[in-house]
């Protein structure tokens, strides 16, 4: 209210200071934009982000042991694992009480399957014991009866596993995903003949790199040609790139199956022109070759389109200038044109790589056993082996890899600049 400032502050017509009014307007605008975004944001959070978070949770969740064997878990806390002795009678009594309920509710086989992921033989142990439990003497002594049902109940390893996996959360699935396991002596790598995931992650990485490189090698000339042709002809040729892009993934995979089979179109053609004999038809499917060829074809448009949009912006005057200064064609291309196309290479390569490391359908159909990716393994654990925790852990690792790559992509291209078609 002081006279010194009142005259200097700009106000709106209704007497508000301009600063306040502007801030208000800004806030209103912010709120309006948020209100427009909110429905989709909530929708995506509920239908998409929540499931992903739920999956992350499943990769460490382990309440099954405590839920199935509540008394045993409590009793085992008293047991000194380093003593070299198996637990005392009280623990066996608790185990009997728990298992009697579990067998009634038919939950003991599920627990056996769960523990079998950590230690082979647990599944059969719980099944066998479950069949015996009804015949056991309720009065005890229980230790003897359990040992009689299966001598594994007298082994330290069995009890160590039970104790190690009694907490509600576990790192067991992640250890398995790294081909490691927790033993009495700490974390160790699994024996050679059981290691599989590092191999598969490595193979996924290797195949994705091969596919990305082949896409680049095939895509660069095409993008270069399209960018240098006049608009009318390049638009026409662009259809040849866009048609595969718009064609269903399954259509293209079926096409490759038709082409690559031993009795398929390519082999028939090669036999017909006499390049190979009928007995020596090439094996191009159900192996890595099949995966690489089919996926290169499927992902090639994702390389060409970003390359093209970058090359389109490279002015031909630079190359002309270089040539007029005495550079030959190759020098002009390599020293002047190519460096300017590098952002396009970066964008296309990261995009193709991100898409390829998560691929499932095509490797499943044409990859056999040597051409499959980590995704196929995740699907196997969900639908066949039922080891959902491990599937979630493998999925989490793959997700982290994609997120890192995507951050790189964001740095190169920016999410806002993603273009389609």
């Amino acid at each position: 209210m002081s006279d010194t400032t009142a005259g200097e502050v700009l106000t709106t017509k209704d007497g508000q200071p301009l600063k306040v009014a502007l801030a208000k307007a800004l806030r209103r605008e912010k709120l309006r934009s948020l209100a427009l975004i909110a429905p989709l944001l909530i929708f995506v959070l509920l239908t998409f982000v929540a499931p992903i978070v739920d999956m992350l949770f499943r990769s460490v969740e382990n309440s099954i042991v405590e839920e199935t064997l509540p008394r045993t878990v409590v009793a085992l806390r008293e047991w000194d694992a380093d003593s070299g002795q198996v637990p005392d009678e009280a623990v066996y009594a608790a185990l009997y009480a728990d298992l009697a309920v579990a067998v009634e509710e038919k939950t003991h086989t599920r627990l056996g399957s769960r523990l079998n992921y950590e230690e082979g033989g647990m599944s059969s142990l719980f099944r066998k014991t479950g069949r015996r439990i009804k015949r056991m003497d309720e009065a005890g002594p229980f230790k003897e009866q359990f040992l009689e049902a299966d001598r594994k109940w007298g082994e330290l390893a069995t009890w160590n596993v039970l104790r190690q996996f009694s907490p509600r959360f576990t790192d067991g699935y992640f250890l398995s995903a790294f081909d490691a396991q927790r033993t009495a002596d700490g974390i160790e790598m699994k024996p050679d003949n059981e290691r599989i995931y590092m191999l598969l992650f490595g193979r996924t990485l290797f195949l994705s790199i091969v596919i990305t490189v082949s896409c680049l090698v095939l895509g660069y000339p095409i993008a270069f040609l399209l960018a240098s042709l006049p608009l009318r002809s390049s638009n026409l040729l662009m259809i040849l790139v866009l048609l595969p892009f718009w064609t269903s993934l399954l259509v293209r995979t079926s096409a490759w199956k038709v082409l690559l089979q031993q009795q398929g179109v390519i082999n028939d053609f090669l036999v017909w022109i006499g390049l190979i004999s009928d007995a020596n038809r090439l094996v191009m499917i159900n192996n890595q070759t099949g995966t690489i060829i089919a996926m290169t074809h499927i992902l090639l448009p994702f390389m060409i389109l970003p390359l093209y949009s970058v090359m389109k912006t490279i002015s031909p005057t630079y190359v002309r200038a270089a040539k007029s200064l005495g550079a030959n064609d190759w020098t002009a291309f390599w020293r002047v044109y190519f460096p300017q196309s590098v952002p396009g290479i970066g964008a296309g390569a990261v995009l193709v790589f991100i898409l390829s490391i998560g691929y499932y359908i095509t490797p499943e159909l044409v990859g056999g056993t040597s051409g499959i990716f980590i995704s196929n393994r995740i699907a196997y654990h969900i639908s066949s082996s039922l080891n959902w925790g491990l599937a979630a852990a493998l999925g989490t690792l793959l997700l982290v890899a994609v997120m890192v790559l995507f951050t790189v992509y964001d740095k190169i291209v920016g999410i806002d600049n993603v273009k389609l078609g």
């Binding site: 038919k106 086989t109 079998n116 639908s383």
Partner: protein, 366 residues
């Protein structure tokens, strides 16, 4: 205005979809010729009498355990009746995912009055399992391979003999059967196979034997794959269910022959998922009683060469519905075919499946 019409049309469509679901009965099976035989022998006749029921087939039997577990977790079982092999039935029953049935009330007696329990006999391997057929997993081979110099495989171990019988083989992508065959051909006597397989050395031995042909194997996960691979000449020998091979040989007239040696008998049948609401349960029980009676099981053998699970159905098995040939010589249980068979140990595999499966899958991807 236009947008509104679209939304209304969309809602109407969605409702139409919802209304149709009310009368649906979802049967889960294996697809292909087998599912077709079930459709012709019991689903179609049943629907003819019950026009209010719309049968939907879901070809997800090979993922039945996983999907039932997911449905159970959600408390929302969308399947009404699931066709599974006996070992899966045992597993589902063990986990409380399948409904226990009472043969006396839930299954029809034989026409001569024999109780259902006696008619099925010891094929009722689990309290939840309603057997339909006895089938076998066995090999088929192409009979027009020049490289074989006129020889034809007649012994299970010829599958492992790449010198006499070069070419690709197809085997199932799981340890069951493959491990047993490998040990048999590595010189293990038939009655010792499971006790050998129980040891680490035995497992090693089986994998070593399989290693000798690993590079020449196409692994299948659906029963229809081997017939297709054989027809396309992609493989020269392949294991699959005997009925699939029957339709390949007799119906599609492909140059393929059966190798019955060391065929492994197995059972296939229905389970009713646990947790169905009353009305759906009543409906499905009515269907099952009809579908597994003596006549229906005998009818099924008209379409596919699997042995009916009821003793009383056996005399009723006649000629193929379209081809008019006698079905008996094509049954796995025919004495001529069953000279050397292998008995599959359910209990053993129920106990060791998780262990061996993990090792088999690791072996496969190495």
């Amino acid at each position: 205005m236009k947008l509104k019409t679209v939304i209304l049309a969309g809602t109407a469509l969605a409702y139409a979809g919802g209304a149709a679901v009310a009368e649906d009965m979802t049967l889960v099976s294996w697809g292909g010729a087998y599912q077709a035989s079930q459709k012709a022998a019991y689903a179609d006749p049943y629907v003819a009498d019950h026009p209010d029921i719309n049968v939907i087939w879901d070809e997800s039997s090979n993922e039945a355990v996983a999907k039932l577990r997911a449905m159970n977790e959600a408390g929302n079982v969308t399947w009404d009746l699931v066709d599974v092999v006996a070992s899966d039935a045992i597993r589902l029953c063990d986990e409380g995912l399948a409904l226990e049935i009472d043969p006396a009330t839930d299954l029809a007696d034989a026409p001569d009055g024999t109780s259902a329990a006696d008619d099925f006999g010891d094929l009722l391997v689990s309290e939840c399992f309603i057997p339909q057929i006895v089938y076998s997993t066995t090999f088929g081979y192409r009979s027009d391979i020049d490289d074989w110099g006129g020889k034809e495989p007649d012994d299970i171990c010829d599958v492992f003999d790449l010198e006499t019988f070069p070419g690709k083989r197809s085997l199932e992508k799981r340890p069951i059967n493959n491990m047993e065959w490998a040990l048999l051909c590595d010189g293990v006597p038939k009655d010792e196979v499971y006790s050998v397989l129980e040891t680490d050395e035995g497992l090693e031995r089986a994998f070593k034997k399989l290693d000798t042909i690993k590079d020449n194997v196409v692994w299948w996960s659906a029963g229809a794959e081997t017939p297709q691979l054989l027809a396309d000449k992609e493989v020269v020998i392949g294991s699959t269910y005997n009925g699939r091979l029957f339709s390949l040989i007799e119906e599609q007239k492909q140059p393929v022959k059966m190798l019955w040696d060391a065929q492994v008998f197995d059972l296939d049948g229905w389970i009713i998922p646990a947790g169905l609401p009353e009305d759906r349960l009543a409906r499905v029980k009515d269907f099952v009683k009809f579908a597994t009676d003596t006549q229906r099981l005998a009818d099924q053998a008209k379409y596919i060469s699997y042995g009916p699970a009821r003793k009383s159905s056996a005399p009723l098995v006649g000629k193929h519905a379209d081809l008019g040939i006698d079905m008996a010589p094509h049954m796995p249980t025919d004495p001529e075919n069953a000279k050397n068979t292998f008995l599959y140990n359910y209990e053993w595999w129920a106990d060791y499946r998780d262990d061996i499966d993990a090792k088999f899958q690791a072996w496969l991807s190495q």
